[in-house]
Symmetry: C2
Subunit: 359 residues, 2 copies
Amino acid sequence: MLEGLVYPGDVRVDVEKLRALGLRALAAVGVPEEQARMTVDVLLCSDLRGIESHGFARFADFYVYRARDGLLNLDPNIAVVADEPSAATIDGDGALGFVPSTIAMRLAIEKARATGVGMVSVRNSTHHGPASPYALMALDEGMIGIAMTTGGVAVAPPGGAKRVYGLNALAFCAPCRPPGPAFCLDMATSVVAAGKLEIARRRGQPVPEGWAVDSEGLPVSDPNVYYQTLGAILPLGGDAAHGAWKGFGLGVMVDVLTGILSAGRSSAELPSRGANHFFGALRIDAFTTLESFYAQMEAMQQTFKAAPRLPDTGPLTFPGEPEAAKETNYRRHGIPYHTSVLAGLRAMCETLGIEYDLE
Amino acid sequence: MLEGLVYPGDVRVDVEKLRALGLRALAAVGVPEEQARMTVDVLLCSDLRGIESHGFARFADFYVYRARDGLLNLDPNIAVVADEPSAATIDGDGALGFVPSTIAMRLAIEKARATGVGMVSVRNSTHHGPASPYALMALDEGMIGIAMTTGGVAVAPPGGAKRVYGLNALAFCAPCRPPGPAFCLDMATSVVAAGKLEIARRRGQPVPEGWAVDSEGLPVSDPNVYYQTLGAILPLGGDAAHGAWKGFGLGVMVDVLTGILSAGRSSAELPSRGANHFFGALRIDAFTTLESFYAQMEAMQQTFKAAPRLPDTGPLTFPGEPEAAKETNYRRHGIPYHTSVLAGLRAMCETLGIEYDLE
């Protein structure tokens, strides 16, 4: 399960040093402290769980420089614009996405505490990192957590020749008996997230056929071609015979719950840095006892793990298991980063005139 | 969009004749009238929308003979065993699955009317047809509808050599401005539903590689091999490089919400005719105005439809569009059935000693 935990040449970075650097950088560009803490918490959760495509690798370009350049509203009026016992809509007012998202997930949890279920749709936000850190917030409350977000426009619908809609993602997390790892599904509704192409490009590796096409709709194996031609990533399922309409449908589902339900518009129509989100919490003891839930999660996992495997395949891992193993390891030994990510953070610190102390 | 609407040799059957035959058959095996109406309504909805794998093709074997043979509880005590303002769990007491499912979806709608969102998990049920007819019940109420169900055990997890868990399905339906067709995603979390292999076998057609494997984990193209060897269907995504863990994760998500949240056990552990379900409703005007929702659904669809297509692909259809077109056509001209389906219904009528008048 720990295979691929650290790539050769990667450098381990202490979590608390990274947290401090993150807060320093955000303070340097004028992000208020509470907003900065929400941001850094989510990015650390991402990197600790090995979602390296969505963590500090994007810190400078996606958040720090955009804050510095006035592209994010650092004094937002984040408003609950619709509010019922188990439903709400929040307007993010162009804030750093981590902020309305954290507020919205907390509100969903609060509503689930009162009524059993809480669902909150968020419009007029910006990129908020990966979805699972928000969904995971529900677990300590004895709840199932759900989080969805629009992503950048990069996906072609089945039969489409161009990117039309977003790399829409959804996370679904359910607790297992502590200290066992939670079930945590965090997936783009495309075959892969764009971050996977970014990683392949960074590491100089080809990508499998069926991930992406160029601007003519032809298959791509060199990730640079995808970027140079403004190609498109395919919906989960890949082609019509293998369920591409399902990945497409799931992508539209995310757009309906995030953008259309909040009156924030679908990903196909958002400005390039805009984003919409959706958060849900289901209180388990509103449906059954937590003890029964834990016992049945265990029983299910044991049944799966006892089943025969194909030759040359390792043991089955559930979504969330590899991520939990990484978190344990990385908390103790530091988070491994590709040297290009650290070079980017060093350059950012120089640009901002703040201390860089990660290596 | 109407391509493939009717296969050569199929016979058109009048909807009301089919409804009457369905009610006659269920009455003949002792199903009370209200239960029979719920059953026939869902099966007709399925066939009217072209979900031919889940409608009257299975009527005799899945429902009528099981009712006759005492495998279904026709006098069930369907109980709400947990109840909070926006959450509930229902015990189906081994009833014909259409009955607890219809009751549960109505309860989810009632809760959404009161609080904005309603979610109901159902245990101890049986096969209830496809998921979308339940999700669609929410739309006339100005709500988004969600339905999930476990299916028969037929799917291997990524790297697995044997079928372990169910053909778990989920439906997500959202209204568009009438009379436009609703958005209606209804998908197995596997590459295909088992019904698609049934159809290929019935029609003597091979299936594409990537749908299923035999009992040794080798690819299957003859659907008979899948059935003869007790093979396995693959999770949506197919293989590890193309996101099979996503299809697997979605399948587990359905198990968590249907079976584990209701204390009904996961699909991997259910007796062969057992099933669990999950239903949800989100009242749109608890989040935004219905007018805004309709307008943004329209805008999204127009953006998609205006985008360039690959050569030799038709116009983009959204999940729900082909189904709505079929429903319009079939209501007027009758539902087309393969002659083997009608032969099965004729034989069933002879067995039960009731009139057969479909041809």
